[in-house]
Symmetry: C4
Subunit: 277 residues, 4 copies
C-alpha cells in the first residue's frame, strides 16, 4: 500500500463511491441500488413477449442508458481507487465490468441480444455492496461466519447426500425397470439421481414418480432417511449461531486493570492478570 500524494478530488470521489459515511456517499449508494434494480427488471421483462412487443423500445433505451452510466461509474472507480489493477481483478471489479460489457458485445453482433441474460443478471450481485448502507455488514458477516465455521460438517453432509442419492438412484433404476422397461420414468441412472435429489430434499416435483410397489416402498424409505439426515446440519448451524451470539456478548466484559477483553459473563477474576473484575 504505497502512500503517494493524491489529488484531493480523488480522495473525495473515493469517499463518495466506496464509503457510505457521508451524505453524498449514501445518495450515491441509493442511486446505484435503484439503477441495478431497474436494469435487472428490464433484463427480466424483455423476455416476456407481450411486454417486449409493446415496450421493447423503452427497454432498449433503458438498457443503453444504464449501460453508459455503469461504464462511467466503472471508469470513476478505476480513477479514484489507489490500485486500479487490484480493483479490476477483484471479485467486485469483475462483477462491475460484467454489468456493462455484455451489452456492448451483443451490440457489435455476437449473437442475439437475449443470450447474455445470465451474464447481465450477474449485476444483481452488486446489491451486496449496498448492504453497508443499512448497517447490515456485520449481520451478513455473522451469517457467512456461521456457514464458514460449519463448512467441514456441510462438506461431510453433502458427501453423505451425494452417496445416498447415487445408491438410491441406481436402486430405483433397477427396481422400476424390471416392472416396465418401456414406460418407466426412470430411464437412466442420472435421471434417477435427479429424482432422488428432488425427493430427498422434499422438493417433490412429481414429474418422475415410482409406479411399482417396491419402488414406492424404496421411495418412502429414502424420504424418511433423507428427512432424518437433513435435520442434522440444521442443528450444527444452530449450535454455531448460539456460540457466535455468546462470544459477542462475552466480549463486552473488560478487565479494568489490564484491559483484556473477552471474559466470560460470570467471571470474577481477570483470566490474564488475576485481579478482580
Amino acid at each position: 500500500m504505497e502512500h503517494q500524494p493524491r489529488a484531493a478530488w480523488r480522495d473525495k470521489l473515493h469517499e463518495v463511491i466506496f464509503e457510505a459515511d457521508t451524505r453524498a456517499g449514501q445518495w450515491f449508494d441509493i442511486g446505484l441500488l435503484v439503477a441495478i434494480l431497474i436494469s435487472v427488471t428490464v433484463v427480466c421483462l424483455e423476455t416476456v413477449e407481450d411486454l417486449q412487443s409493446v415496450y421493447g423500445v423503452w427497454f432498449y433505451y433503458a438498457e443503453w442508458t444504464l449501460t453508459v452510466l455503469f461504464t462511467i461509474e466503472y471508469a470513476l472507480r478505476l480513477i479514484c481507487v489507489r490500485r486500479p489493477l487490484g480493483y479490476a481483478t477483484s471479485f467486485y471489479g469483475i462483477v462491475d465490468l460484467l454489468s456493462f460489457l455484455p451489452t456492448y458485445v451483443s451490440s457489435i453482433g455476437f449473437g442475439r441480444f437475449g443470450s447474455f441474460a445470465v451474464v447481465r443478471s450477474f449485476r444483481l450481485l452488486r446489491v451486496f455492496r449496498v448492504l453497508k448502507l443499512i448497517n447490515l455488514t456485520s449481520e451478513s458477516e455473522d451469517l457467512a461466519g456461521a456457514v464458514w465455521r460449519a463448512r467441514g460438517k456441510i462438506i461431510v453432509f453433502l458427501a453423505v447426500v451425494f452417496i445416498t442419492v447415487t445408491i438410491a438412484g441406481a436402486a430405483m433404476y433397477e427396481v422400476e425397470r424390471i416392472h416396465d422397461p418401456i414406460e418407466t420414468q426412470f430411464t437412466s441412472i442420472p435421471q434417477s439421481i435427479y429424482w432422488a435429489i428432488v425427493t430427498m430434499t422434499t422438493v417433490g416435483y412429481g414429474d418422475i414418480v415410482p409406479h411399482t410397489t417396491l419402488g414406492k416402498l424404496l421411495s418412502a424409505l429414502l424420504i424418511l432417511v433423507g428427512y432424518s439426515l437433513i435435520i442434522v446440519p440444521t442443528g450444527f448451524v444452530s449450535a454455531e449461531a448460539v456460540e457466535s451470539r455468546k462470544k459477542r456478548k462475552a466480549l463486552t466484559q473488560t478487565c479494568p486493570y489490564c484491559m483484556a477483553e473477552g471474559h466470560l459473563s460470570d467471571a470474577v477474576y481477570c483470566r490474564l492478570c488475576g485481579k478482580p473484575l
Copy 2:
C-alpha cells in the same frame, strides 16, 4: 393522555370491551371470537356454489346480522375510548372498520358482492386481539421479538435468496430455451424466477419442470444450494430463542453483592460469592 373526568359507565364499558380481567370482559371476548369465526366461515362458504345455491339466503342474513353487530361494537369502542381519533387511525381501528364497511359498500351497488372477499377476510386479524384472553400475549411477544431481533439476518437472507433465484431463473431460461424454444415451460425470465422460488423453498409444484439434461443438473444444483442456504436463518432464530429464554430466566435472580446472574429461582445464597440473595 389528558385526564378529563369521565362517566363511570364509559370506564366500565372500556373495561368490558378492551380488557379481559373481568368476567364480563372475558364473555365479551369469547362472543367476539365466535362472531369473527362465524363471519369468516360465511365469507368462505359463500364462494362454494353448491352451498351458496342452497343456503345462500342464510349466509346473507348471517352476514348482515354480524355486520350490524360489528358496527355497534365499533361505535361502542369509539365512545368508550379516551382518544377516538387515535383509535380510529390505529392498526386495529382500521381492521375493525374494515370488518363491516365492505358489506355496506357492496350493498349500495359498487360491483358484485363477492369481490370484497379479501377485504372481508381481513376481519380475521381481529383474532389476535383475543389472544389476551388465554394469556398468550407474552408468548406472541416472544415470537415477534425473536423475529424482530433476527430481522437484519432475515433481510440479508432474503437478499441472498432474491439474487440467487434471479440468476438461477435467467440461467434456466437460457438453458431450456436452447433445447426447445417452442415447447419450453420456461417462457420468460419472470416465469423462471417463479420456478426458482418454488424449487428453492422445496415447494416443488411440478407445473414447471426442466426437460433438458443441463436443466436438470442446474436444477439439482439450485436445490442443494438452496437447501443449504435455508438452514442458516433457522439456526439464527434458534440462537435468538435460546438467548431470550436465558434472558427471561436471568431477570428473576441477580446477586446484589457480586452481580452474578442466572441463579435458579429458588436460590437463597449466591452460588459464586456465597452471600444471601
Copy 3:
C-alpha cells in the same frame, strides 16, 4: 387407591401384563408388539385387491385369531387391574377395547368388513405401550415435554398460519377468478385455503397452481412469507430442548451438606444453605 388384600396370582399377572421388569413381562410385551404389527399389516394388505383375492382367507383367519387373543388380553387386564372401571375408561383402556370390538361388530352385519379399517388401525396406538420395553419412556417424555412447554408458542403460530392461509386463500380466489372465471382451479375460498396450506408448508402437490402473473407473484410472496414464518417455532423448540438438556445435567450437582439438588454446573456455594459445594 384402596388396598384390599388380593390374590397373589393377580399381582403376578399384573406384573407380567403391565410391567416390563421381569423376563415374563418382557416376553409378553414382545409378543404383544408382534401381534399388533401383524394385525395392522393384515388390515393394510386386505385392501390390496390382488392380495385379497389370493390370500383373503388367510387374512380372515389371522384377523379372527388376533381378535380373540386381544379379547382375552383385554379380559385379563380387566381382571388383574385394581380399578377395572378406571382402566376401562382410560385412554389405553378404550384403545384396547377398539382393537377387537370392530371385528365383532362388522361380523354381525353392520356394513361391509372394510369400513372399520380406520378404527382397526387405531390398535397401532398400543405400540406406545411397548416403548417401556426398550427404555424409551424418558425419551418420549422429553419429546412430549418440549412440545408441551412450547404449546403456547405453537398455538400462536398456528393462529398466525390459520389467518395467513385464509387471507391468502381469499386473495388468490379473487385474483385467479378475474383472469378466467370458468377454468380457474381456485373454484372457491375453501379450495384456495387448501391450496394455501399445501403451498405454505412447502408440500406443493401441484394439483392446484396459479395460472395468472399476479397469482404467481402472490404465490411466490406467500411461499417466502410462509417459509420465514415456519422457521420460528423450530427455533423455540430448539431452545426448549437446549434448556431441558441443561436442566437435567444441572440436576446432577448435589450439595453435600443439605442435599439440595439442581445447582448450576459452575456453582461454588450451595444456593440454599450457603455452604461450599
Copy 4:
C-alpha cells in the same frame, strides 16, 4: 493383536494404503478418490442410451481397467494388513470386495451387465475412507455422534410418524373411496400410507391427491400435524450439537483448584477463584 515380526515393505505398504500422513499415502488416497468417482460415473452413464450407443466400448474398457485396479488394491490390502480375515469381514472389507466382484460375476454370464448397477454403486461408500485426507474425520464423528446420542428420540419420533401415517392412510382410504370407489387414487391402504408419508414429509409429489372436500380437510390437518411434529427432532439434534460444542470447548481448560470448567483457551487465571490455571 499379536505382534509378529513383519517385513518392512509390508509396514511401508500399510502406511501408504491405510494412512494419509505421508506424501505417498496422500497421493494414493487422491488416486483412489479419482478412480472411485470415474468408475461410478461410468456406471451411471452406461445407462444413458444415447451415450452407451456411442461411447459404450470406452465405458467397457474403463470398467475393466478400474475393476482390475480395484482387484489389485484389494489384494495389496489383504497382504499388508495384520489380520486379513478381520479386514475381509469388516464393513469396508466387504465394500472393497463388492467394488470389483460384480463385474467378474456378470462377465461369466449371470444375467445382463446392467443388473448389478446397485451393487456397483456401493463402491461410492469407499469415499468415506478418503475423508481422513482432508481432516474431516472429527467432523463426521461429530455428526455421527449427534445422531447417535439423539437415537432414542429419533426412534420415538419415527414410531410416532409410522403410527400417524398408518392411521391417516387408513382414514384417507375410507374417505376417498366413499366418494368415488372406482376412480379414487387411494386404491389401497398401503398406497394411502405412501401418500401420507409423501405428504407429511412435505415432499408432495402430487401423483396422488385428495379429490373430496373431507379428504382435503383431512389432508390439510395431516400436513399441519405432520409439520408440527417434524420440527421436534430438529430441536433435539440442535440441543445435542450445542452440547457437543460446549463439551469439546470445556475439555481445553479446567481449573485445578476449584474445578471450574469452561475457561477461554487463553486464560491464565481461573475466573472464579483467581488462582493460576
